[in-house]
Structures are given as structure tokens and as C-alpha cells.
């Protein structure tokens, strides 16, 4: 077993990317993810990789487009306002079907917002963000160890599906330190016959492109993308559930908020309230299945987010009107205490849990 080391979430992402074989990083500093950019500046030269501080997030994502198109593993990272700037490039990357990993360590918005943790980029991450019918695979870790595991997994998923993968964290996860272990990984970048890395003896040029001027061809391309997204939904949906089987009320939360929800749930359980937790680990594809299942047994759901209510819309779609879905959120970088969530649990059970 590898030795455990104490690491900040942001730095753990960087080391995990290196473990996954990523040797190209293009980024731009922004709080609260700057430690990751700095970590890559320090580490990439040590492992023979490339670190480049781009002139903007726009340039950085386009550098990712170029690097990914040549077949190498590549990553960029930013926080909310910077991720907005990257959206054009992400749409092109999705259209050209290039594998890459994009890290968003979210802060409160809109606009320049603040520098404290937020989860208000859920819509942007899971519903497209840029223009056109496309999807990012969105992974939502809730511990520094899971940051490591999911970062490595992100590169594999990106290669497997030729799709951008977004690691969606928040300022708290990025800044916090926990012990982590880097397990020996058998991750191997796939052979990319489509890559445009110079013909090198090939008879036909490879072209990296998202332009299809003929409507028939563009529709065919979209149908192909949708089939790919359906396969991802079928194969890659992940979630964790705790105490759901007998729960009257099921909490729904991801990322840092899921840990607060867990503490609140444990307090509620100790007071004999039957409370469970569903924690989506993939936000897209969203785990609809457990909601359909527990809508038959639970009396209500309570989504908790650091937003004004974004993921809760997917919860409501999944519950499909069978049970009430309540929401509790804080915004602007405010983080609810376990006690505040506990009070919401009690309130929701009183209002909606009764038969």
C-alpha cells in the first residue's frame, strides 16, 4: 500500500493527473483553484511535461483543443468566471469529439461573484454550458481521496468516449487537506488513430473539426453524438447511497454539501428520524434510477446545494411528481452548518413527511 500523504484538494488533482499520464496542462490563475495551476507549474517540468500559463482562459481551452487533437492527455482548470470563458472551446471540443479533462473549482456567482465556495455552475456543467446539443461527463468528488480517484478516472472516460470530462469541485474541496493515497494505476491512454499528430506515413490526413456545413451531415453527426451520450448514460452513471432503504426522508447532495448533509443525517438518525442520503457522483449522467426506486418507499426528498436550486430540478425530473421534493440552499459562498441542514430535515419531515 502506498504511503498516505496529506494534500490540498487542488494539489491532489494535479498529482492525480500526472499519475494518469497527463503531461500537458494549460491554465490561467484564478481563486480558489490557483494552487492547482501553481502545482502544475512546479511538477510538469519534473516529469518532462508541459506547463503553460496562457494569456486567458479562452486561449487555454483552445490550447487544450490543439493538444487533445494530437492525441495526448491534457488538462485545464479554472473557477467559475474562467469556466464561463472556456465555454466556446468546450463546445468545439465536444463537437470535434476530443478527450480532455476540465476542472472547475466553483465559487459563488453570478459575474465576478466572490471567492468562497459555490455550486451554482451545475446548470452550466451538466446542461451544455456552450452552444449546441452536447454533454460533458461531470464528476463530483466529495473528498480529497475521491478527487484523486475521479481525476484518474476522468482521463480514462475522456479517452474511452472521446468526450470532455469535467471534474466539478468547489472552493472548499479545493482548499481542504485530507490524507490521500495514490494507488498504482493501470490507466493506459488509448491508441488514437484519429489524432492529427502529423501524417507520419499515413496515406490520408486526419482532420480535427467541428464544422459540418451540410445540414444532413450535421444531423448525422448529432445523431452519432446522442448515441454516444446514451451509451454514457447507460454505462457510467454513478452514485452513493446511505441509509436509503428505510428512509422516510432522503437527502440529495453532491460535493462538499454531501458531507454536511451526511453529518446532519447522522444527527437526525441519532434522534430516531429515518433519514437517508443519495449522493450523485456523476452529475451528468444524473443518477435518475435510485430516485425512481425510492420514490416508492420514501415520503419526501430534500435537495441541499450551495445554489439557489439547480440540481433539485434533476431530482424533481427523476422523482417525477411521485413524492414532494424540498430544497434548501445557501448562496454567495455561505455554507450551511450541519445543524442548519438538520433543522431543514425536521421541518421537511413535519411538513411533507406526514401521511
Amino acid at each position: 500500500m502506498a504511503e498516505k500523504i496529506l494534500m490540498k484538494g487542488n494539489e491532489a488533482i494535479g498529482e492525480a493527473a500526472i499519475v494518469a499520464g497527463c503531461r500537458r496542462y494549460f491554465g490561467y490563475p484564478i481563486t480558489p483553484q490557483t494552487e492547482l495551476t501553481e502545482y502544475m507549474a512546479k511538477r510538469m517540468p519534473q516529469v518532462g511535461g508541459v506547463f503553460l500559463q496562457a494569456e486567458s482562459e479562452v486561449a487555454a481551452i483552445n490550447m487544450v483543443y490543439g493538444a487533445a487533437g494530437t492525441g495526448v492527455r491534457v488538462m485545464t482548470s479554472s473557477s467559475s468566471p474562467g469556466i464561463s470563458l472556456k465555454q466556446e472551446g468546450i463546445s468545439y471540443i465536444a463537437g470535434a469529439e476530443l478527450p480532455c479533462v476540465i476542472v472547475n473549482i466553483m465559487r459563488g456567482g453570478p459575474g465576478l461573484g466572490g471567492i468562497q465556495p459555490g455550486q451554482a455552475d451545475y446548470f452550466q456543467a451538466t446542461k451544455g454550458g456552450g452552444h449546441g446539443d452536447y454533454r460533458n461527463i461531470v464528476l463530483a468528488p466529495n473528498s480529497v481521496q475521491e478527487i484523486v480517484d475521479m481525476t484518474i478516472q476522468a482521463f480514462d472516460l475522456a479517452d474511452q468516449y472521446r468526450n470532455p470530462v469535467m471534474l466539478l469541485g468547489d472552493g472548499a474541496l479545493g482548499q481542504m487537506m485530507e490524507p490521500v493515497e495514490f494507488k498504482a494505476t493501470d490507466t493506459v491512454p488509448s491508441i488514437k488513430a484519429w489524432a492529427a499528430n502529423g501524417m507520419r506515413g499515413r496515406t490520408q490526413p486526419n482532420i480535427i473539426n467541428s464544422l459540418h456545413l451540410q445540414p444532413e451531415k450535421l444531423e448525422q453527426h448529432n445523431i452519432h453524438l446522442q448515441q454516444k451520450y446514451a451509451a454514457i448514460q447507460k454505462n457510467e452513471t454513478r452514485w452513493e447511497e446511505l441509509y436509503t432503504e428505510d428512509a422516510d426522508l432522503i437527502l440529495v447532495a453532491y460535493g462538499i454539501t454531501s458531507r454536511i448533509a451526511r453529518s446532519a443525517m447522522e444527527k437526525a438518525r441519532s434522534e430516531s428520524y429515518k433519514v437517508g442520503l443519495i449522493r450523485p457522483q456523476t452529475l451528468w449522467p444524473f443518477p435518475a434510477a435510485p430516485f425512481a426506486k425510492y420514490a416508492k418507499t420514501a415520503k419526501a426528498f430534500l435537495a441541499v446545494e450551495l445554489s439557489a436550486g439547480q440540481m433539485v430540478e434533476d431530482v424533481r425530473l427523476a422523482v417525477n411528481g411521485v413524492r414532494p421534493v424540498a430544497f434548501y440552499g445557501r448562496t454567495g459562498g455561505m455554507i450551511p452548518s450541519p445543524k442548519a441542514v438538520y433543522e431543514q430535515i425536521v421541518k421537511t419531515l413535519k411538513e411533507r413527511g406526514g401521511n
Binding site: 498516505k4 472548499a172 482548499q175 481542504m176 487537506m177 485530507e178 459562498g333 455554507i335 452548518s337 445543524k339
Partner: protein, 178 residues
């Protein structure tokens, strides 16, 4: 056992560092640990703080809102966090800079003249280690050997600092015993 600790002071008093040392020491004792720097509205007002959790159980929320122990290196930190400490909890006050004690009677309070002790030891920078020594002696969160080991690991490049830090931790702990 779960220790949920807030360490707070002016920027530059080294509260982030002693938080990390405590976290590292907990990890060396195979406990569940987390450290998170000041996040949220308490970042205002020029104080820095961090939350440390050392537990035998998996850790839920890493941000401490009801601490079992508080380290206050300056007055604004004591003013801010004193009311949040759980009944029966521990408050370590840096009495070199904080003249008052606490108003509450349901907590254990230790007044440690950390800056004076550090000056006696010949290095004003180790005031944070003095209060860390007092904290671990008062709470039993980790033992002092683990903190020394953590220090040796985190400052592998500066072995000459080890001895004075160990002495600072001992001196801090001695205030709890007497």
C-alpha cells in the same frame, strides 16, 4: 473520539501551520483527519483560521461550526469563536496578547503566555507551537511525539528547527499539567 478544533489568529501567527501539523499528526496515528482554511464570512476582519477534525469515525462536514476546542491567538478570534465552543469544550487563550479570559463557565480555559514563552526560548516565531503543545495536552487529540514526527516530515529541509519546536510544544504542555 472526535476532536473538532478551530484555530484562529492574525495572519502570520502560524495558525494554519499548527492546524496542518495537528492534522498530519492525526494521520500518522491512523485517524481520520481533515483541515480546511477559513472559508466563509469569518475571513473578514483580518483574522485567519482553520478547522481541524481528528476522529475515529469518517468525517462528514469538514467545516467546524461547533468546536470541541478553540485556539485563540488574538482577541478578535476569541470574540468571534468563544460562543461557538461546545459546553465542556476547551479554549486555549494566548494570554500574551489577550488580556481577558472567557465569560463562560461551562468550558475549560487555559491562558498560555505563548509569545512570552517563545521569546524566552529565543524565537518569537514558535508562539504557535507553544499553544499547540497546550492544546494537545489539554485535549489528548494526538500525542506530542506524533506532532514532532509530523514536523520532521513537513520540514524535512529544515532539521535545525526541530529541537526548538519540540521544546516549544513541551513548554506549552507544561502549562496544562500544573
Amino acid at each position: 473520539m472526535t476532536s473538532e478544533i478551530i484555530m484562529a489568529g492574525f495572519g502570520g501567527q502560524g495558525v494554519m501551520l499548527i492546524g496542518q501539523l495537528l492534522t498530519y499528526a492525526g494521520m500518522l496515528e491512523n485517524k481520520q483527519v481533515s483541515w480546511i482554511p477559513s472559508y466563509g464570512p469569518e475571513m473578514r476582519g483580518g483574522t485567519a483560521n482553520c478547522s481541524v477534525i481528528v476522529s475515529d469515525e469518517p468525517i462528514g462536514a469538514p467545516i467546524v461550526t461547533e468546536p470541541t476546542a478553540l485556539v485563540a491567538m488574538n482577541l478578535p478570534s476569541l470574540d468571534k469563536f468563544e460562543p461557538m465552543v461546545q459546553p465542556g469544550g476547551v479554549i486555549i487563550i494566548n494570554s500574551s496578547l489577550i488580556e481577558r479570559t472567557v465569560a463562560r463557565s461551562d468550558v475549560k480555559v487555559y491562558q498560555i503566555p505563548a509569545n512570552d514563552v517563545a521569546a524566552e526560548l529565543g524565537n518569537s516565531k514558535v508562539a504557535n507551537m507553544v499553544v499547540l503543545g497546550a492544546l494537545i495536552a489539554a485535549t489528548g487529540t494526538v500525542n506530542s511525539q506524533s506532532v514532532n514526527k509530523a514536523f520532521a516530515k513537513m520540514f524535512a529541509q529544515k532539521p535545525d528547527l526541530l529541537e526548538i519546536n519540540e521544546r516549544a510544544i513541551e513548554r506549552g504542555a507544561s502549562y496544562i499539567k500544573c
